[in-house]
C-alpha cells in the first residue's frame, strides 16, 4: 500500500502527498485542498487523514515543521516527492496504455 513494495497509492494517499507539492500544509488545509482539487469527488475523513499523516511521517515521506496548538504543519521530504513521482509515472503509463487502445 503506497510505495514500490506495497503496490499503488490509493486516491486519498495520492492527493494528500500532492497537497504538499507547493507548500507546507496542516491537516485542515489538506482536507480543503483535496476537496477543492477533486471538486469533492475524493472525500478525506478525519480518521483517514490522521492515520495517513502518522503513516507518512513514520515512513519519512513528510516531516513535521511546526506545532501551533492543535495545528501541526508538515512538509514533503525528498523521499515523499519520489514516491509521489513514482505513482504519477505509473498513472501516466496507465493513461497512455488506455489511450493507445481507444
Amino acid at each position: 500500500m503506497g510505495g514500490k513494495d506495497r503496490g499503488p497509492l490509493t486516491e486519498p494517499m495520492f492527493y494528500v502527498l500532492m497537497s504538499f507539492l507547493k507548500r507546507d500544509m496542516c491537516g485542515t488545509e489538506i482536507t480543503e485542498f483535496v476537496a477543492r482539487k477533486t471538486r469533492d469527488r475524493v472525500r478525506l475523513g478525519p480518521g483517514t487523514l490522521y492515520t495517513l499523516l502518522g503513516k507518512f511521517q513514520e515512513e519519512g515521506l513528510i516531516q513535521e515543521t511546526e506545532v501551533d496548538g492543535r495545528k501541526r504543519t508538515y512538509r514533503l521530504t525528498g523521499k515523499g516527492r519520489a514516491v509521489f513521482q513514482e505513482e504519477l509515472d505509473r498513472l501516466r503509463a496507465c493513461l497512455n496504455d488506455a489511450e493507445e487502445e481507444i
Binding site: 500500500m1 475523513g45 503513516k55 496548538g69 495545528k71
Partner: protein, 390 residues
C-alpha cells in the same frame, strides 16, 4: 430528579470496535452519553436521548494525553470528542448519521493492523503480569493433588485462596484478551476484503469473561496491596498476650534457651483479607543439643499454632488434618469442656513426656506440641481462656 453517572461493563470485547460503537450508540439513544472508562468499567453521563454516530479511532500509541491534532481534525469535520476508551481509542460522536471518519478502507486496514500488532505485543505484558501475580501467591503444594485432596484446610491457612482467585481472574482475562484479538483480526479482515461488518460471538463472550474476571481480580488486588504495605504480619509482645508459656507450665525451674528464635518474647501473628488470621509461639528449654546436630525431640518445649477460619467446618477439617498426621487412632477424643467444642489428645507411648493437644472452638483451631514433665490436660482451662482472648 437528579440523575447520576451510570457505570456499565461493555457487553463486547474491549477490542471489538464496531461492537463498542454500536453499544455506545444504543446507550446515547437511551440518554447515556459516553464519558470515560475506569479500569474495566465504562462511565456514562445523563443526557437527552440522542441518535448519535459514534466512532472509535485506534490511537497510534497508548493514550497518555490527548493528541490535539486528531481532536482538531475531527472537530473541523463536525465530530465531538467525548473522551478515550481504555487509552486505546479516541471516542468521537456526531449527529450526522452518514458521517464517515474513514474514507479509505486501505488506510483503516493499515490503522487496524498497526493497532493489532501493538495489542499482540501487549500480550507479553499480560503474560508477565500473570507470572508476577501467580508467583507472588504460589506454593508448590497448591499443585500437589495429594495435598489438595487431604490437606486443603491447611492450604487455606496459607495463600491458596488468593492464588486460586488470581488463577481464575487471570485465566478469564487471558481468554478475554485472546478472544478480543480474534475480534479485532476479524474486523480488519472484513474491512480489507469489503465484507459486511458483524460482531463475532467471540466478542460477546470476551465481554462476559472480562466482566467475570473483575471480582476475583479486585479481591486479589486488595490482598496484594494490603500485603505489600503491611506484609500481613502483626506480631505483638508475649507479655500481656495471655498465651500459655513453658515457664507457666513447668514452674520457676524452667530455663529457657537464650536463642530468641526458640524462646520467642513475642507472638507471631498474621492476618490479611483473604487468608485466615493465625498465631504462632514457641518456647524451648536451654539445651546443649541446640547447634550440636542432636535430636530436638527430647528437649522440653511448647509450640503453639492457631488459625481462625471463617467457617467452623473448615476449622473442624483442620483439626482432622492435624490428627491425620499422626494417625487418627493415636488421638484420644476428650469430652468437650470449658467452652471447647473439640479436644483431641495424643501421648507418645515410648516418650510419655511428649504430647499433642488439638482444640477447636468455632472457627478457631489450635494445635499444641509439648515435651515436658506435666500433664498438659490439666491446662485445658488456661488454653480455653487463651483462645477466648483472641
Amino acid at each position: 430528579m437528579k440523575q447520576h453517572t451510570a457505570v456499565r461493563f461493555p457487553p463486547v470485547s474491549g477490542y471489538d470496535i464496531p461492537g463498542l460503537e454500536r453499544w455506545l450508540q444504543r446507550m446515547a439513544a437511551r440518554g447515556m452519553q459516553f464519558s470515560m472508562t475506569l479500569g474495566p468499567f465504562t462511565l456514562f453521563l445523563p443526557a437527552e436521548p440522542t441518535s448519535l454516530r459514534i466512532h472509535l479511532e485506534p490511537a497510534r500509541t497508548k493514550i497518555a494525553e490527548d493528541d490535539p491534532e486528531i481532536i482538531g481534525l475531527y472537530e473541523s469535520a463536525g465530530w465531538t470528542h467525548l473522551g478515550d476508551f481504555r487509552k486505546n481509542f479516541y471516542v468521537f460522536a456526531t449527529p450526522e448519521p452518514d458521517a464517515q471518519a474513514h474514507t479509505d478502507p486501505q488506510v483503516l486496514s493499515y490503522a487496524l493492523r498497526r493497532f493489532f500488532r501493538q495489542k499482540l505485543l501487549g500480550g507479553a505484558g499480560l503474560a508477565l503480569l500473570n507470572f508476577l501475580i501467580l508467583s507472588f501467591f504460589y506454593s508448590s503444594r497448591f499443585t500437589d493433588p495429594t495435598y489438595l485432596r487431604f490437606y486443603w484446610a491447611e492450604l487455606l491457612a496459607g495463600d491458596l485462596l488468593p492464588w486460586l482467585l488470581a488463577l481464575q481472574g487471570m485465566g478469564l482475562t487471558d481468554l478475554s484478551y485472546l478472544l478480543g484479538l480474534f475480534s479485532l483480526w476479524k474486523f480488519r479482515r472484513q474491512i480489507r476484503h469489503d465484507l459486511p461488518i458483524t460482531t463475532p460471538p467471540a466478542s460477546r463472550l470476551a465481554g462476559v469473561l472480562s466482566a467475570l474476571a473483575v471480582l476475583p481480580l479486585v479481591l486479589v488486588a486488595a490482598e496484594f496491596t494490603f500485603r505489600y504495605f503491611t506484609h500481613g504480619y502483626f506480631p505483638y509482645d508475649l507479655a500481656g498476650s495471655g498465651f500459655v508459656t513453658m515457664a507457666e507450665i513447668e514452674g520457676p525451674e524452667f530455663r529457657p534457651t537464650g536463642d530468641t528464635m526458640y524462646n520467642m518474647d513475642y507472638i507471631s501473628h498474621g492476618d490479611s483479607p483473604l487468608t485466615p488470621e493465625n498465631w504462632y509461639y514457641q518456647q524451648w528449654e536451654s539445651n546443649r543439643v541446640f547447634g550440636s546436630g542432636g535430636s530436638l525431640a527430647d528437649i522440653p518445649h511448647l509450640e503453639i499454632n492457631i488459625t481462625r477460619y471463617l467457617l467452623p467446618a473448615v476449622a473442624e477439617r483442620r483439626a482432622w488434618e492435624w490428627r491425620s498426621w499422626g494417625g487418627h487412632e493415636d488421638y484420644q477424643a476428650l469430652e468437650p469442656a470449658h467452652g471447647l467444642e473439640e479436644i483431641w489428645y495424643y501421648q507418645n507411648e515410648r516418650n510419655p513426656g511428649f504430647c499433642y493437644l488439638i482444640l477447636r472452638k468455632g472457627g478457631l483451631v489450635m494445635r499444641v506440641e509439648y515435651e515436658g514433665s506435666k500433664d498438659l490436660t490439666q491446662f485445658l482451662p488456661r488454653f480455653a481462656q487463651m483462645l477466648d482472648t483472641l
